[in-house]
């Protein structure tokens, strides 16, 4: 595996790009969770008003 990667180093570039996008993806997931909680609270608040 290692020798394959050092002989075809373009795949290392691919791994790096995947890591960067993976990190951004997980950040967006946590952000999405936060926004969903806000949405839930808005919904609960509306129901309480009724």
């Amino acid at each position: 595996m290692e020798s394959f990667l050092s002989n075809n180093s373009i795949y290392i570039v691919m791994i790096i790009v995947l890591i960067v996008w993976g990190g951004i993806f997980f950040y967006l997931l946590s952000l999405d969770k936060r926004i969903k909680n806000v949405e839930k609270e808005i919904k609960n608040g509306e129901q309480n008003e009724k």
Binding site: L5, S9, I12, I16, L31, V38, E41, I42, G45
Partner: protein
């Protein structure tokens, strides 16, 4: 909206150019990159690894600026902005460390060798990690905002030292170290104009992406805070 389209085009172009453009011995055409001895195709990692480190710096700087603003105006929105920036800085700091470690495995032979650059980014991770521990340990909103603003401003004092000074005055493996002869892949010496062009485009693209993520992030924090206050009062 226009800048989001520009962002999409920029990131697409950088991804295509950064991966697909050929590396040749004597670059002639505008799309050819020079061969850097010892790095070969690995040199292309620079288009994706350096922007993460760059964003770490920008994010921590913005966190400090908005912390200062919070202390000046006592506006909770500024605290949310500082917090979102610090969070993003942390994400990109981790990404810079991990991508750096993967690159190091194939350029230096090991994932981690306590090179000055690696040591300093590890220290930065610890320093800013403590900021989140501090934030989560304080219940009172205003106290949390004030303390974390002060902490964030003090923490940023160490950033120029860890990012710019320490890795340059100590001997190490990373380009730009004190014993670097210039034969290695230093940015200024070995990049040709086409490589530099893609590199700058990549920096711009990632900065816009960061700005977008930061905006969405701090807005979600601000709305959550506003909602909480209304619920308690109502």
């Amino acid at each position: 909206m226009i800048w989001k389209i520009i962002l999409f085009l920029l990131i697409s172009f950088v991804s295509i150019a950064g991966i697909a453009f050929p590396i040749v011995k004597n670059p002639q055409a505008w799309y050819e990159f020079p061969n850097i001895p010892g790095l070969e195709e690995n040199a292309k990692i620079i288009f994706f690894h350096v922007p993460t480190a760059w964003l770490t710096l920008i994010a921590f700087l913005m966190s400090t600026v908005f912390s200062f603003k919070y202390l000046k105006n006592k506006n909770m929105d500024d605290d949310a902005k500082a917090y979102a920036a610090a969070q993003l800085g942390m994400v990109f700091c981790i990404l810079a460390t991990v991508t750096g470690a993967v690159w190091a495995k194939f350029a230096w032979g090991a994932f981690w060798s306590w090179d000055p650059r690696q040591t300093s980014i590890f220290a930065l991770l610890l320093i800013y990690g403590a900021l989140f521990a501090l934030r989560s340990s304080i219940e009172s909103e205003e106290k949390r905002a004030t303390l974390s603003s002060v902490y964030s401003m003090i923490a940023f004092v160490t950033v120029p030292f860890f990012i710019f000074i320490m890795p340059r005055i100590m001997k190490g493996l990373h380009p730009g170290s004190a014993d670097d002869t210039g034969a290695g892949p230093i940015v200024n010496f070995q990049m040709n104009s086409s490589m530099l062009f893609i590199f700058v485009l990549s920096l711009i693209g990632f900065t816009i992406l960061y700005y977008w993520m930061w905006q969405v992030s701090y807005k979600s924090v601000i709305y959550r805070d506003k909602l909480n206050k209304n619920l308690i009062r109502g």
